[in-house]
Point group: C2
Chain length 127, copies 2
DNA sequence: GGTGTGCTCAACCGTTCGGTTGAACAAGGA
DNA sequence: TCCTTGTTCAACCGAACGGTTGAGCACACC
C-alpha cells in the first residue's frame, strides 16, 4: 500500500543520506555508482535509497546503456512547501489574534489558559 | 543519540496522524485527550506522537493542573523551508543553465550524457 | 562468444516505529 | 481521605527500515 504522497516525501527526506543525495543531485545528475562513491555503504544500499526517493517522486531515472542516470525532480518540493506554509501561516495568524486580544484586555490574562476561540474550523483535516 | 534536527523534523512529519495533530494545533492549543479524541488509537499512542513532535521542536508543552496543553512552535518550519528552498533553487538554476547551454549549441547534445561541471562544490554537505 | 561493468533482486539481520495493555503518578473535587 | 481525571512509564508485539552479502540481469567492449 503506497501511503499518501506527503508521507512518502517527508519520510524520504528524513534520512540524512537521502537528503545528501538530493543535495548532490541539485548540482548535477549522477549515476548510482557515482552517488554511492562518497558514502561508506554498499551500492545496493544507495540503490534502495534511490528507490525510496523515486517512490516519493523526488527523483526520476532514465537509461543510458547499463547506467541509470538519476535526475532530481523539483516539483514535489512544492507539495511540502504548500503544506508547511499553510499551517505556519495559520499559526502566525493565531499569534496575531492573540496579540490583539492581549492588547485589548491589558490585565489578568494567563497566556497558558487561553480557551482558543477556534476561529476557523473549516479545512481542518488535510486528507 | 538524538539525530540531527532536520531528520527529526522530517521524520516527525512523515506520519499522517502527526501531521494532522500539527494541523489541528495550528488553529488552537489542545490537551492530550482532546487531541486523541478524533483518532481511533489510545491516548498513550497520541502521547508518544507528541513526544516525537516535541523532540523535533515542532511543539511545546506547558502545565495546567493535570492537563498538559500542547502548543505549536512555528519557528522550526523555517528550518525545513530553508533546506527545501536551497535545493529547489539550485535545481531550477541548473535547468536554466541547461536551457542556455542547449540554446547555445543547437545540435548533437545528448542531455543524459552531460558530465556534470560541478559548478559549486562548496557547501555541498549539509551537516 | 566471453568478460567486465553497472545495477537490481532476494534473503537475511538488528533496530526503530507505531501500536497495544497495564500500572503508576499527579493534581483537583467529593 | 478517597476517587476520578489527565498523563506518562514500561513491557511487549508485529511491521517497516537501513544495512549487509550473494546471485542474477543487461549491456558494452574485446
Amino acid at each position: 500500500m503506497p501511503a499518501d504522497a506527503l508521507s512518502q516525501v517527508f519520510s524520504a527526506l528524513a534520512d540524512p543520506t537521502r537528503r545528501d543525495i538530493v543535495a548532490r543531485l541539485a548540482v548535477a545528475d549522477a549515476t548510482v555508482t557515482e552517488l554511492a562513491e562518497p558514502y561508506s555503504v554498499s551500492v545496493q544500499a544507495v540503490s534502495k535509497h534511490l528507490r525510496v526517493l523515486e517512490g516519493a517522486g523526488l527523483v526520476s531515472r532514465s537509461r543510458d546503456a547499463q547506467r541509470r542516470p538519476v535526475h532530481l525532480e523539483a516539483e514535489v518540493f512544492d507539495l511540502m512547501t504548500a503544506w508547511i506554509e499553510r499551517y505556519r501561516r495559520r499559526a502566525e495568524e493565531r499569534y496575531s489574534r492573540l496579540d490583539a486580544l492581549l492588547a485589548a484586555m491589558p490585565d489578568a490574562v494567563d497566556a497558558d489558559d487561553a480557551p482558543a476561540p477556534a476561529t476557523d474550523p473549516t479545512t481542518q483535516g488535510e486528507a
